[in-house]
């Protein structure tokens, strides 16, 4: 009983005990988009790009965090699952600035794979770049809030410099108490740069600083004066 048999998109496949649906699917050659998942890191299940339909369940399940049960029927390429996978990617694409969108990023890879067009949503206001660190260029206008850098810093390297602050659409990556990265306790290990799937964290000195900043009109902090809430008017067209 060290293996679990289940059905994925009409095919019977096997998973090792403790293996997730995403891992088993990948071994079987199925392609399920995923962004907040990375090998060697605790799966967090936050991006929801990898959601799949499981027969008998009310809502979709994140395949990166779910282990199959014996006899389970899973659909990764059903119309319903694909609609949400695509919508998640579209929502994330809408908020990555054109200036920092990298065609070799994981986000771009999955957008191509699922043949996404231009996002139909207005972009968020974008934060300014942070080039204060000698080794790492920070462009949070490319950030998709997947928290891979947080886990890299906190759980892989146990440095705990990077945090996820604020709430809702104002939630954002910070260094210590939201200091410029170069003034933080960062030890420049580079784990976060390795972890970032979009290029929001890049090695400094290899061209990131030459990337044009987003236009001033599109810039603005996400958060209000006391840092906990979304700034009025920061979201698209919704100033109270």
């Amino acid at each position: 009983m060290s293996e679990v048999r289940f059905t994925l998109d009409g095919r019977e496949i096997t998973a090792a005990r403790g293996e997730t649906i995403l891992m088993a699917a990948r071994r079987a050659g199925a392609r399920i988009p995923h962004l907040c998942y990375a090998d060697g890191m605790r799966p967090d299940g936050n991006c929801r790009a990898c959601v799949v339909e499981i027969d008998g369940e009310r809502v979709l399940a994140p395949s990166c965090c779910r282990e199959p049960a014996e006899g389970m029927t899973v659909h990764a390429d059903s119309a319903r699952a694909r609609r949400s996978q695509r919508m998640v990617l579209e929502l994330l694409l809408a908020d990555v600035s054109a200036q920092t969108y990298r065609h070799d990023s994981e986000l771009a890879h999955w957008a191509r794979e699922l043949a996404l067009g231009a996002p139909r949503f207005e972009a968020r206001r974008q934060p300014p770049p942070d080039y204060s660190h000698p080794a790492i260029a920070v462009r949070l206008d490319a950030c998709i809030q997947c928290t891979r850098c947080v886990r890299a810093c906190r759980e892989v390297q146990v440095n705990d410099v990077i945090g996820y602050a604020g709430r809702g659409a104002a939630a954002r990556i910070v260094f210590d108490t939201e200091l410029p990265m170069g003034e933080s306790t960062c030890v420049a290990c580079g784990e976060c740069v390795q972890a970032c799937p979009t290029g929001a964290l890049m090695p400094a000195g290899v061209g990131a600083e030459d990337t044009p900043p987003v236009a001033a009109a599109e810039q603005g902090k996400w958060y209000g004066p006391h840092r906990t809430e979304l700034r009025p008017g920061a979201a698209n067209g919704t100033a109270p």
């Binding site: 919508m87 998640v88 659409a169 939630a171 108490t177 400094a204 000195g205």
Partner: protein, 563 residues
């Protein structure tokens, strides 16, 4: 860039400059004075941030750094928690601290319908710079709309004059309502049932059978059968814990406040019976910060209970939220009790298996435990024999909006919206005709008055894409539109989304943006697609339910919106 020393080949980490923001000794002294000899456990971080803020008036970056140093946490850990909760005022370098008094004006659905936006604007003009006036999500006083909190003093039917009067008099403390205190509750036979349980006069099997026979379900919104939950938790290896969800925050809901402000000991007895039933070794009460009067009542009454206990009691911890609706979601509540950001956990595993501090945990809503002592005293039939239209049981309905007598009304399960209006709430308000209603606060969708004769209960509204949830019934009239109500609700969800998962974090933001246009210009096709993903792919009930107002408008009120 100049500090990089490539030529020398020195690793960057060998720079002689100390890393990070240095500890400010004065701030550290202030933090230590505020925390006294309280234990510096991680799970107390939110309590400690409250203590520092109450002592200093706000939280500066130096104070947050000092809290980190004093509690042996990293600055990032403290900062990400502090910025999660809306009631913490974080002041950056060079930023002005907030004025000492804050007036929170509720702008959720019932209060907005009663003119909260105008009140907010008028108060900002009238009160000037010495008082901070901010909009706040539902403060649980929808029957007194528009409602406000002046400091800790709640004000129903708030007006500029009434707020101004409190400000001028310097009144900002909580006013305690009349309630049954410990002595009064004991005099009426209170805690006899708990004592009978704890001292072996009643068996678990007997109590479990009574709760099951009554058909008591979770009244926070999910409606999970209470007795089954006990069975799940009890079958897991100990230590087991119990958490009371007193984080009522669903717009339109104020029945848990009613329970705590009238019969706090009935709530506590029910909670302690549940703790006995699952043999819990510790009990936590998670109370929302918007209810300062309840906090004072519970603090006083827990002290009275401990001073003269009816029987052996487990340790009971009263914890204070900090302005986060999401912490009413049970796994977020558990995270918050552990001193973390209130982000939901992925299920499985369920809290009954892996809950607070990784232990099996029973999480109950306030009203659920409120019914337990009476069910055990009067027998299960007393509860289960209530009901209309073939439904069974009873509960508190929070009724607000365009009715003559908004308030908490005790009614049988299966009562209809029209009956609630006519029999319980004194009819529609003068000049208002019944147009639509919210059966379950912000989360349960919006139904047209044509469905006003449907039974209100768990399960039965599912065919209309709706649910009763916490039984917060908000009545709309011809003066309102479903589209405007839905926009108010989506703004609420955007404000309260925790930010963890994409469909909710980005989805509520984009949806509120699309819906802020004139209703005739809504992109209904795109909204429908977005709503499906929010409902299908969000981690928790907040994001899933945030789609309901959109889907309700598209389904039942297509005449209001365009394209």
């Amino acid at each position: 860039m100049g500090r990089r020393n490539r030529a020398a080949g020195l690793p960057v980490m060998l720079r002689p400059v100390p890393k990070g923001r240095p500890t400010d000794e004065a701030a550290l002294t202030e933090v230590r004075a505020a925390l006294g000899d309280a234990p510096r456990r991680r799970d107390l971080l939110i309590e400690h941030l409250h203590a520092v803020q109450e002592s200093i008036g706000y939280l500066s970056l130096d104070h947050l750094n000092a809290v980190a140093e004093d509690m042996d946490l990293t600055p990032a850990e403290v900062y990400e928690v502090a910025t999660f909760y809306h009631h913490f005022d974080i002041v950056g370098d060079g930023e002005a601290p907030p004025p000492p008094l804050t007036v929170r004006v509720c702008d959720s659905i019932a209060c907005e319908m009663a003119g909260a936006d105008e009140l907010l604007a008028a108060l900002r003009d009238a009160l000037g710079a010495g008082v901070r006036v901010v909009p706040a999500p539902c403060i649980g006083r929808c029957d007194g709309a528009p409602a406000a909190l002046v400091g800790a003093r709640a004000l129903d039917r708030a007006s500029v004059d009434a707020v101004q009067a409190l400000v001028d008099e310097g009144v900002a403390d909580a006013a305690l309502p009349e309630y049954a205190d410990y002595e009064a509750y004991r005099a009426g036979g209170g805690y006899d049932t708990l004592r009978a349980c704890v001292e072996g006069e009643r068996s678990y099997e007997d109590v479990h059978a009574a709760v099951r026979g009554a058909g008591l379900r979770g009244l926070g919104g999910a409606g999970f059968p209470c007795a089954r939950k006990w069975g799940f938790v009890r079958s897991e290896p100990g230590p087991r814990y119990v958490a009371l969800n007193a984080d009522e925050g669903e717009p339109g809901t104020f029945k848990d406040r009613h329970c705590m402000e009238t019969e706090p000991h009935r709530v506590l007895e029910g909670l302690l019976i549940a703790a006995w039933a699952v043999e819990a070794e510790g009990v936590w009460i998670y109370l929302r910060d918007e209810y300062p009067a309840c906090r004072e009542i519970l603090t006083l009454e827990l002290a009275a209970l401990r001073a003269d206990p009816p029987c052996a009691l487990p340790p009971i911890h009263l914890r204070r939220g900090a302005g986060a609706y999401i912490c009413g979601e049970e796994t977020s509540l558990i995270e918050s009790l552990e001193g973390k950001r209130g982000e939901p956990r992925l299920r499985p595993p369920y809290p009954a298996q892996v809950g607070l501090f990784g232990q099996p945990t029973l999480v109950h809503n306030v009203e659920t435990v409120y019914w337990i002592p009476e069910i055990l005293r009067r027998g299960p039939e007393w509860y289960s024999s209530q009901g209309r239209r073939g439904r069974s049981g009873m509960r508190f309905f929070s009724v607000s909006g365009r009715v003559k007598e908004p308030g908490v009304h005790l009614a049988p399960a299966g009562v209809s919206a029209r009956e609630l209006i006519d029999e319980y709430a004194g009819g529609m308000a003068e000049g208002h005709d019944f147009y639509a209603f919210l059966p379950g606060g912000a989360s349960g969708g919006i139904l047209p008055s044509a469905l006003g004769d449907e039974p209100l209960d768990f399960d039965v509204l599912a065919e209309h894409g709706s649910f009763i949830g916490s039984a917060a019934i908000v009545i709309l009239s011809q003066a309102d539109t479903a589209a405007a109500a839905a926009l108010n609700l989506l703004r609420f969800f955007r404000h309260e989304s925790c930010g963890k998962c994409t469909p909710c974090r980005v989805g509520t933001d984009k949806a509120a943006g699309l819906m802020a246009r004139r209703a005739e210009e809504w992109n209904t096709g795109l909204l429908a697609e977005l709503a499906e993903t929010m409902a299908d792919a969000s981690i928790c009930g907040l994001g899933q339910a945030a789609a309901n107002p959109i889907q309700s408008v598209l389904r039942f009120f297509p005449q209001e919106v365009g394209r």
